[in-house]
């Protein structure tokens, strides 16, 4: 059972989707219940994974140790003999390590919250919930896939439900927003696709190659000696081309010895091919940058958020953006550590740019949802800064920041949704003194805002402080860059407090007198979501080791890539 938990995470919603499609249209309530149950189960399973993830010393920590992943599943999926082009091999390979385990938990949590928030969907219910489940399954798949091809498959598959969820159930300009989102992201995927093919052509799987080349007997266990022998033969060029088993396995791509000696991405080759590696590195970075998003590739985000229905915004900000950060960690940085060091200050500058630029934009927004969307841009800048620092503090902090932002942005978008549900209006200036009409709601808003602006005790603080700490500690990032980043926390406080002042404090006033009757305080479902998320941000803010215990070992292994 334990060995199939990850598959369950992926296929459970997929199966449920098929089930929903088979039911008649009229069973509206059933769809909702099924989705809630399935995402609930998903959350449960991800919590089981969280609880049983081994963290003791010496337990496997993954990253580039092919055997170091927990809950791993690996089956050969496609194998083609391409003659002199070698053998094509694609694995169904899933596993978790410190880099993705928290993101699996986050996905479980946010999808469940999103399912609750989806309860108020009234139109085309069947399609909505089928797509929602499909989205859930591909998001999970994205985080746990260890084979680049499989990852890419899930990565692309995510676009489809997202496109329809925004395009059909969205606001007024939904079609524009959804097509923009789709094409923008597709553009990024193309870059990733190019990188994937280039990597595939350069890398072999030493295990399978050893078998294929007859360096190991059929029944013989492949030990390190055989692996080294295979890799040596590869380096010498004495391994016949038709015996090379090319692979999409991500951990294999992180080992220099697995690269073909004359491959354009060969890490040890001279300066001539250096540009090729740099190009592919930037292609990957750009591809994920669009998802993260990094300024100036972020303009799809405010549009998509503003038009998307509340639960889709929650998922978009809560989970989807993290794929960008995760992809940079797992793929761009792990496979191209040399380039990561080379361009550290550039990447860090991009992160700082996002922090400041996003915050300034958020300050100027008149639409509450846009303000929150730009605050996401700003907060994800911290992730990039932390990753670029290549220090234990920075990378752990970046993972924490992703997790924390997942919780907080979900909370913020639900807050926007609460207001929008009641009045269908999101303009900040149309409300004043909401604390008098909705005191409990305002209380939770204050928690969300203060947690987001990095008040200690809440999770946002830990993420911000440790990414900053990493960037100060990093020898690759100039101190000036880090100092500018700290300025982001003032701006963060400014736009949140200003919004708080304008919308929630002061004398009660709303633009339309009719709204006064519509603005009642929270409903039980809203209580549950906001209260639960508020509790989560508090718990993780007070006990950051709940995250760091799981991540730190893998991060250490990850950082080992950069000192080799």
């Amino acid at each position: 059972m334990q060995n199939y938990l990850l598959s369950i995470l992926i296929f459970l919603p997929l199966g449920a989707m098929v089930g929903i499609l088979c039911l008649p249209n009229s069973q509206k309530k059933t769809f909702k219940i099924i989705t809630l149950l399935v995402t609930g189960l998903q959350l449960l399973v991800s919590l089981v994974i969280y609880a049983t993830y081994a963290v003791s010393k010496g337990s496997p920590a993954g990253v580039y140790h092919t055997s170091g992943f927990q809950f791993a599943e690996r089956v050969e999926w496609i194998r083609l003999d391409l003659g002199n082009l070698g053998q094509l091999s694609i694995d169904y390979w899933l596993g978790v390590d410190g880099l993705n385990v928290m993101l699996v938990v986050l996905t479980g949590l946010v999808m469940f919250v999103g399912a609750i928030a989806s309860w108020q969907i009234q139109t085309k219910v069947k399609g909505y919930f089928a797509l929602y489940l499909l989205l859930s399954s591909s998001l999970m798949g994205c985080f746990v896939a260890l084979d680049f091809f499989l990852f890419y498959l899930f990565f692309e598959f995510m676009l489809l439900p997202m496109y329809f969820l925004i395009g059909i159930w969205g606001g007024e300009r939904r079609e524009y927003a959804s097509i923009k989102f789709f094409i923008y992201t597709l553009f990024g995927s193309l870059l990733i696709l190019i990188a994937m093919i280039a990597l595939y052509l350069s890398v072999i799987d030493p295990h399978k190659t050893a078998r294929q080349a007859g360096l190991a007997e059929k029944s013989q266990v492949i030990d390190n000696q055989i692996l080294t022998k295979t890799q040596d033969k590869l380096a010498e060029g004495t391994l016949p081309a038709n015996n090379r088993v090319h692979t999409f396995g991500l951990p294999m791509m992180m080992d220099k010895a697995n690269y073909l000696p004359n491959a354009s991405l060969q890490p040890n080759s001279g300066s001539e091919t250096w540009t090729m590696r740099a190009l592919i590195f930037w292609a990957l970075l750009l591809g994920f940058a669009i998802k993260l998003p990094i300024v100036p590739f972020h303009t799809w985000l405010p549009d998509a958020h503003v038009e998307a229905p509340t639960p889709v915004s929650v998922v978009l900000a809560g989970v989807l953006l993290k794929i960008g950060g995760y992809g940079i960690l797992r793929i761009a940085y792990s496979i191209f550590p040399d380039m990561a060091i080379e361009y550290a200050s550039w990447v860090a500058s991009l992160g700082v740019l996002a922090i400041i630029y996003g915050a300034l934009n958020a300050l100027a927004m008149a639409d509450l949802k846009k303000m929150v969307a730009y605050s996401s841009v700003s907060h994800m800048g911290f992730v990039l800064l932390g990753v670029a620092s290549l220090t234990a503090e920075g990378v752990n902090g970046a993972i924490f920041q992703m997790f924390s932002h997942g919780i907080l942005s979900a909370m913020l978008f639900i807050i926007v949704g609460v207001l929008y549900d009641r009045t269908h209006d999101r303009q900040i200036e149309h409300y004043r003194g909401l604390s008098q009409a909705m005191p409990y709601f305002t209380g939770l808003v204050m928690i969300a805002f203060f947690a987001s602006l990095g008040l200690p005790g809440f999770s946002g603080f830990i993420g911000e402080v440790f990414t900053l700490l990493g960037s100060f500690k990093s020898t690759k990032i100039a101190i000036g860059i880090s100092v500018v980043a700290v300025g982001g926390i003032v701006l963060g406080a400014a736009y949140f407090l200003w919004t708080l002042q304008r919308m929630f404090l002061g004398k009660f006033w709303v633009k339309d007198a009719q709204w006064k009757t519509q603005l009642h305080d929270l409903y039980p479902a809203e209580w549950l979501m906001l209260g639960g998320l508020a509790a989560a941000t508090l718990v993780f803010g007070l006990f950051p080791s709940l995250v760091f215990n799981l991540t730190s070992q893998s991060v250490e292994v990850f950082l080992g890539l950069f000192v080799k």
Binding site: P296, N396, G457, K507
Partner: protein, 686 residues
């Protein structure tokens, strides 16, 4: 011990959560529950004081989390003389403010919430003073900021109150960025945040990675930035005068024991890592702040504003003290100031409270904080006059009062420092003591003015408003619940508690207890010399400052009482010096036009850029492909498809032509056959 400390900390926090979620049936006891909780905390801190003071230091820490074995992040408690005395003072002042608030706030709609916030405030400050490392100190530091935000903006329907709260939080945040950078740098260079550990590392000169002097300066300055924000030093002092928008007892708490004291406390905690450059900066910032604050306090109409500017000025003294190496004197002043400033604010609160009631009784709307309207209260409020007089005397530093001891210690410390630093014949350093003495004169002037305006002479209100005729008979002195805290604070403003003699304090228990930590940048010898010099200058300092105070008070009396200097002219805006003082050097306007407006413009420009440039570029890029698509489609239709159609048309034409032959008629066939045969025949023959 751990248990006791945590117990002291938890009770106010419990107040916070407890009062927010108190069941209905218990709500009427809520305030007293809070006071009892704080009373227990106070007793606990007295017990701790007994254990620690002058006897030992005690540290306890736990692992919070870690990334790897080399750099654990810890949380811990560090009890030394400084932290236990702060514990006692914070609990005491907070308890008195609680007590005072029972009668001051009892009519408020959110009465219990107010006490809950007070609990949070107290908790945050208590946590701050017992923290053993910079990170937890920062955490509580921020919580203090949150609590002040909640309390300053407590009357959240009042626009000015929310603005003030936001301003306080944001200005503090600016200072905090510096603090945060400092914290990060400490981690980078020393690999730990535990203050005792850093102290050892510095004294042995063994940082984790080599550190140069300018980096030490940077760290010190960044940490000082935190204090600049929280302790309202130049140039970030502008939030403090606005912060009086909160309820007056809150101001008492905020200006005395919590919040603003935190900055000075931080300086004391990191005193050992401030190098000479930083100390110089600290001294000058303190001097400037002290002078500016006192100068701005001179002409304010609002009685709470005078007190707020006076706090800024007094904090300037403390910071100055730290800068000149008079560590003990600065902390001593922090403690004495806690009493007399709380006393002054609570007295002001009593005045406002009482006049507010009066206004309600006679149905008159007037600004109960405008000193020009409130004259001549002394007759009807003798108790408040007394408390205000005693606390004010302590503030200006009259002999027999506590302020005399602590302020003179700072002054002679500054003098000692200037003479030590200026040994080479440089008079530059004398700016600090001279300006500090000047500030003494100004303090006497504004306190004198305030005292005379409020309590001297006849009841002004009845002269100004017809409704208020004979209203002075309805004026009530403070109720008993306000009197109790004031009596205690009055006692705390006398020299008795702090010193054995009213003249000097060098050898007294308090200053003996607060030993100056070794600052290796100054050097042990220099620190000793400074202390000796301070002793040396003490006598003359006292003489000079007494002379200054008396002349200041005299001038105030002559100006405001004898000559009624500006009592009648309420709008007295023409003189530029007056404007400079009233507007507090126009710092607010400067920030408004530079930071706020330009920042807002920048934000709008960014948003504009985002929409018009970046997003438009994306759209144009996308549209380019769409247009290209149309072109290709046209090409496809017109050219490629055209060719295909042309071919097809050709075939069709040929087909049509040939088809026309096949009419199916026998005659046609017959003719065709004949033609064909004839043609073949013709071909064969020739």
């Amino acid at each position: 011990m751990t248990f006791l400390v945590l117990f002291i900390l938890i009770l106010p926090l419990f107040n916070f959560f407890g009062l927010l979620f108190l069941p209905k049936s218990l709500q009427k006891f809520g305030d007293w529950l809070a006071i009892v909780g704080l009373g227990i905390s106070f007793s606990g801190s007295i017990i701790l004081f007994q254990y620690i003071w002058g006897k030992t230091t005690w540290q306890m820490f736990w692992l919070w989390f870690s990334f790897n074995a080399q750099s654990p992040v810890r949380v811990g408690i560090w009890l030394d003389n400084l932290s236990v005395i702060m514990l006692v003072i914070v609990c005491l002042i907070s308890g008195l403010v609680h007590l005072f608030s029972v009668s001051y706030m009892h009519a408020d709609k959110h009465y219990l919430r107010y006490f809950a916030y007070l609990g949070l405030f107290t908790f945050a400050m208590l946590g701050l003073v017992v923290s053993d490392n910079l990170l937890t100190l920062y955490i509580f530091w921020e919580l203090v900021g949150l609590a002040s935000y909640l309390l300053i903006g407590f009357w959240s329907e009042k626009k000015s109150a929310i603005r003030a709260a936001k301003k306080a939080f944001l200005i503090n945040r600016i200072g905090d960025t510096g603090f945060l950078i400092g914290i990060c740098l400490v981690w980078v260079y020393f690999g730990t945040w535990q203050l005792p550990d850093i102290q050892i590392l510095i004294s042995q000169n063994k940082p984790q990675i080599p550190i140069e002097n300018w980096q030490m300066t940077l760290i010190g300055f960044c940490l000082f930035c935190g204090a600049i924000g929280k302790s309202a030093q130049f140039p970030l002092q502008i939030w403090l005068p606005d912060a009086m928008e909160g309820p007056t007892p809150v101001s008492a708490l905020l200006h005395a024991a919590t919040m603003v004291a935190a900055g000075v406390f931080l300086l004391a905690r990191v005193f050992f890592l401030l190098n000479l450059d930083v100390l110089l900066i600290v001294a000058f910032i303190g001097t400037i702040t002290a002078f500016m604050g006192a100068f701005a306090a001179l002409v304010q109409k609002d009685l709470k504003k005078v007190l707020a500017f006076s706090t800024i000025s007094q904090l300037g003294y403390m910071v100055l003290g730290m800068g000149v190496g008079a560590y003990q004197a600065a902390l001593f002043h922090l403690l004495t100031h806690a009493f007399f400033k709380a006393g002054l604010f609570l007295s002001a609160g009593a005045v406002i409270h009482s006049l507010h009631h009066l206004g309600k009784k006679i149905d008159l709307e007037f600004d109960a904080q405008n000193m020009y309207l409130l004259g001549g209260l002394g007759q009807k409020m003798p108790f408040i006059r007394l408390s205000f007089g005693i606390c004010g005397a302590a503030l200006v530093g009259l002999p027999l009062f506590s302020g005399f001891l602590s302020k003179d210690a700072i002054l002679s410390g500054a003098w000692a420092w200037a003479s030590k630093m200026g040994e080479g014949g440089s008079y530059f350093f004398y700016i600090v003591p001279i300006s500090a003495f000047l500030t003494v004169l100004l303090s006497a002037l504004y306190i004198g003015r305030m005292f005379f305006l409020l309590f001297w002479g006849e009841f002004t209100l009845s002269k100004l408003y017809r409704k208020a005729e004979n209203a002075e008979n309805m004026l009530q002195d403070a109720p008993i619940l306000m009197k109790i805290p004031l009596v205690i604070l009055m006692l705390g403003s006398l020299w008795l508690g702090f010193s054995y003699t009213p003249w000097g304090s060098e050898s007294d228990w308090l200053r003996q207890g607060l030993t100056t930590p070794v600052n290796i940048f100054l050097g042990l010898q220099t620190q000793k010399d400074l202390l000796e010099l301070e002793h040396h200058f003490h006598f003359w300092t006292s003489i000079i400052s007494i002379a200054l105070i008396i002349s200041g008070l005299l001038v105030a009396y002559l100006l405001f009482i004898r000559n009624k200097f500006d009592a009648q002219t309420l709008t007295f805006n023409s003189k530029s010096l007056y404007r400079l003082s009233h507007e507090s050097f126009f710092l607010n306007q400067l920030y408004q036009s530079v930071l706020v407006q330009q920042g807002w413009r920048l934000a709008q420009a960014t948003a504009h850029f985002d929409q018009k440039v970046i997003d438009t570029f994306v759209l144009v890029f996308a549209r380019f492909w769409v247009v290209l698509g149309f072109v290709v489609a046209w090409f496809d239709r017109a050219v490629i498809d055209g060719l295909v159609n042309f071919t097809a048309a050709m075939v069709a034409w040929v087909g049509r032509v040939t088809k026309s032959f096949q009419t199916g008629g026998a005659q046609g066939f017959f003719i065709a056959s004949i033609i064909l045969i004839l043609w073949i025949y013709w071909w064969v023959v020739y």
